[in-house]
Every structure is written in C-alpha cells, then in structure tokens.
C-alpha cells in the first residue's frame, strides 16, 4: 500500500483533532515543533509526528526513522494510551513501552494526549458525513475482534 496518501489523510485527520481539541498541543510548550516517532513494534511502519505549533504533519514510513523522541510499543499499548485506558508509567514499568531520545518531549506528548481525552473513532466518524454510522459500527466490530482500544472505553468516558 502506498504510504504517501495515508500520510496525507493522517495529517488532515490530526489537524481536525487539533481543531476539536485546541488545548492538545498547548501542553507541549517548548516541544511544539518536535519530531516524534511513534513506533508500533508489531507493524512494519512507523509514524512521524511533528505538532508544528498546532498545524501537525504526519508521515508514515517503512524505514527506521530518526526523531527527537521515540515511543515504541505494541499497537495495543499505544492505542490504549491514546484512549486513556492505560497508564503510561505502568506500561513503562512492565517494559511494554520504551522511550528513547528526548524524554522530556515524550513525557510532554504523553501528558498532553492524556489530558485531551481523545476518541479517535468519534473523530473519524465526525469526518465521515453520511458514512459516520456504518463507520462506527465497523470500528466497534473491529474493536471486539481485535481487543484493541479503538475508542475511548466507557469507563473512561464517565470520568
């Protein structure tokens, strides 16, 4: 699958998320233009994210990529973190999550995302117009089949 169109889609998606969650990247402070590498170790791609002071850029690549801070872990752990289902320190203690490079930058990103209370499925549905409902059903099915946190868990939603 060509990664360039996917990268473009993810860039548009991330900008929509920032529009809906304006505080998200404010928490990054001095790390607002940092190159983050998010490495789901069970997938053959890595995701490079630069918050670009609120106009984020996302690039997918199959190569090992250098960044200021790298966060590696199973896709399940990374998605669980984004959706507030897991505690980042607990994943670090259990060695499910590895942080390399600028630890301060990685910490800032983790804290910003934890505070944002994101739900990627809801964000995607909001972009899908008339396809929102079937998309949500598809995501719910995928969540049940894979066990991944593709949405913010019910428990987290009531906090």
């Amino acid at each position: 699958m060509p990664l360039a169109p996917l990268s473009l889609s993810l860039t548009v998606f991330s900008r929509k998320i920032v529009t809906n969650n304006p505080c998200l990247f404010q928490r990054l402070g001095e790390y607002g233009r940092t190159d983050f590498v998010l490495d789901p170790i069970d997938l053959p791609i890595v995701l490079c994210l630069n918050p670009n002071d609120g106009l984020p850029k996302v690039k997918l690549t199959r190569r090992q990529t250098e960044g200021t801070a790298r966060i590696s872990g199973p896709m399940a752990a990374l998605l669980g973190l984004v959706h507030g289902a897991f505690d980042g320190d607990a994943l670090f203690f259990s060695r499910d999550l590895v942080v390399e490079g600028d630890t301060g930058a990685a910490l800032a990103l983790r804290n910003a995302i934890d505070d944002a209370e994101l739900d990627l499925a809801q964000e995607a549905a909001a972009l899908s117009g008339p396809f929102a409902r079937p998309l949500q059903q598809l995501i719910a099915l995928a969540e049940r089949q894979t066990g991944l946190y593709l949405t913010r868990p019910e428990d987290a939603a009531i906090w």
Binding site: V98, E100, D114, D115
Partner: protein, 327 residues
C-alpha cells in the same frame, strides 16, 4: 468519621477522573516551578485551576494547591503570586513548605487554609506545633520515614490534623532536604520542582537490555523481561567493590492499604496518594480502590482486596517505613 482520600491530579482530565472516582480531595499545582511536580506537559494554568476547583466543588470535593518548592532569592514574587492566585481560584487550601512563604500566606491571605507540605520534613510534634502556632497551619503531611507508632506519638501531642502517604512513589529521603537529583543534574525537587528531571533522563534499549542514565550517569540496567524502575538516584543500582545493589531502597512503590485501620487508630485524618505525574487511568483506579477501602472501614466491612501491583514502580510494593522492616 470516614478517612479523607487526598488524590493527585496533574491535568484537568485527571482532576475530573479523581472526583468522579470518589476522591474527597484533589491536590494539584500551577504549571511552573512553584510545585514539586514541574514536569513537561503537566499541571494547571490559572484558568484551568479555576475551572477545576469549580468542577470539584460542584461535586462536593475539595481542591488543594501545592506551592511546595522553596522560593528562589530575588524571585519570591512568583511564589507570592501563586498563593494569591490559588485563593482567587477558590482553592480550599494551599500546601506550603517554605517558612517565608508560610509567613507571607498567613499575613496576606489569612482566610486561606494552610497545610504543611511533606517537603517541610516536619517529623515530630514540637515542630508541627511550632508551624501551627506561628503560621496557623491546620494540617501537616508527614514524611514517609515514620513508623505507625511514631505517627501515633505525634498525633497524641500535635494540635493539628495529619495526612500520610498510603500509595505511590516512595521517597525514602528527608524530603525538602534531599539533593541527590542536584548532584547528577543541577536541578532538584526543592528549588526547581523536579526530581530526576526528564530533560536529563536518557533511556537506551539494546537487545532487550534497558539502560537508564541520569545526567549522563548510568543508574540502572535491567535485563529483558525485568520490570523497569523510575530513574531516581535513591532507587539506583550502585557498585562497590565486588558487590552491586540498591543502596538506599529497591525500586518499589508504597502501598499501605492494609495499614489503613492502624493509621486510623494512630489518629491520622487523611490518606494521600502520590502521583501527579501519572495518568487519569492511574488516578481513577487508585482512588476507587482506596475509597472502597475507607468506606469498608467506616462500615466495619472487611477491606476489599487491592489490585494495584501492576501500577507500581518495579511492579512491586512495600509498606515502607510504616513497619520499619528496611535493611
């Protein structure tokens, strides 16, 4: 009376999670060097603090603002402003450590309740009563180096409420006086609000072996599959001669859940959970667990079984100094 659960919040989301999970009280700090968890991406700006206090008050919970670092000479105004802003935001109390700041708060904000931070390392009844008599301190957070009988002895003579840590990161030093972090990084929790600042921490994993460096010094090396610790010097692994080991304390978390009945008998008013640097997921799980424990105690039901090991540093727990079983 049910024991008060005092819960950490590093972000507004964590504050909401804590309140929803049943915290009686939440403590947090401003996003600057006035509090001892001055980490990247953490803490509250003034507007968030105002909203957080309103959220908590609407649900019957209190908010304490930690202003518990020691003001830098010439920059005292930063700390003075923090106390004034905490009062303006509607905080129920401020948690202070510095004598000068306590004096400033008692003179200029007499209506604002004052708690003494663990950073003041007040570990006997005489000094606690001095803080109470001189600065109107109403509650003291006791250092994590006291046993339960010592806490009972303090409460027998102290004129104010006491609060003790029951869960989370275990600081084994005389808090507010520990300079270990400064030796390796030039920054400390006392002056800069950071123990082992993230900017000076470096991890490297190679072939499953994880190295942790602080200020360039290797302080941990853990093999594949072994739990990772926080990169603090007090839990570091040191070599001397032929021996290598944890000199001060193993990388473990405090969990005094089982000691709650004894702490209540010792006269403790409030139970504090450490972890403003942790996620809202941690906050919600730990608060639920401890709220269930104190409610069970109050209702004279058996204490529920805790499920907190996986949230703990090194995935291991200790009752710390409360039982005085350290080597």
């Amino acid at each position: 009376m049910v024991m008060e659960i005092v819960c950490p919040a590093g972000t507004p989301a964590a504050l909401r999670a804590a309140v929803k999970a049943g915290a009686h009280t939440v403590y947090c700090g401003f996003n600057d060097e006035t509090n001892a968890r001055n980490f990247p991406g953490l803490n509250f700006n003034r507007s968030e603090m105002r909203d957080g206090v309103a959220f908590a008050h609407a649900r019957g919970a209190k908010v304490l603002v930690a202003i518990n670092t020691f003001p830098r000479a010439g920059d005292e105004a930063i700390w003075h402003r923090a106390v004034g802003d905490a009062e303006a935001c509607g905080a129920d109390a401020v948690i202070l450590a510095d004598l000068g700041l306590l004096d400033h708060a008692s003179r200029n904000h007499p209506g604002l309740r004052r708690h003494l931070s663990v950073q003041a390392a007040a570990a006997n009844a005489d000094v606690i009563n001095f803080y109470a008599g001189t600065f109107g301190v109403r509650r003291v957070v006791l250092p994590r180096v006291l046993s339960v009988p010592e806490i009972a002895a303090i409460n027998a003579e102290a004129e104010v409420e006491t609060e003790v840590f029951v869960f989370g990161g275990l600081c084994v030093m005389a808090e507010g006086r520990c300079s270990l972090s400064s030796y390796a990084t030039g920054l400390s929790p006392n002056m800069n609000g950071v123990c082992s600042p993230a900017s000076h921490v470096e991890y490297n994993e190679d072939q499953g072996v994880l190295d942790a460096r602080l200020g360039g010094y290797l302080i941990h090396r853990v093999d594949r599959g072994e739990p990772a610790p926080y990169p603090t010097l007090c839990k570091g692994c040191f070599s001397a001669g032929e021996k290598a080991g944890h000199l001060f304390e193993d990388p473990v978390s405090l969990n005094a859940e089982r000691l709650i009945p004894q702490l209540q008998k010792a006269g403790v008013t409030a139970l504090k959970i450490e972890g403003r640097q942790r996620s809202k997921s941690y906050v919600a799980q730990v608060v639920r667990n401890f709220r269930a424990a104190v409610d069970a105690l109050e209702a004279r039901r058996p204490m529920p079984e805790g499920m907190l090991a996986r949230l703990s540093e090194g995935q291991a727990m200790t009752t710390g100094a409360y039982k005085k079983t350290w080597r």
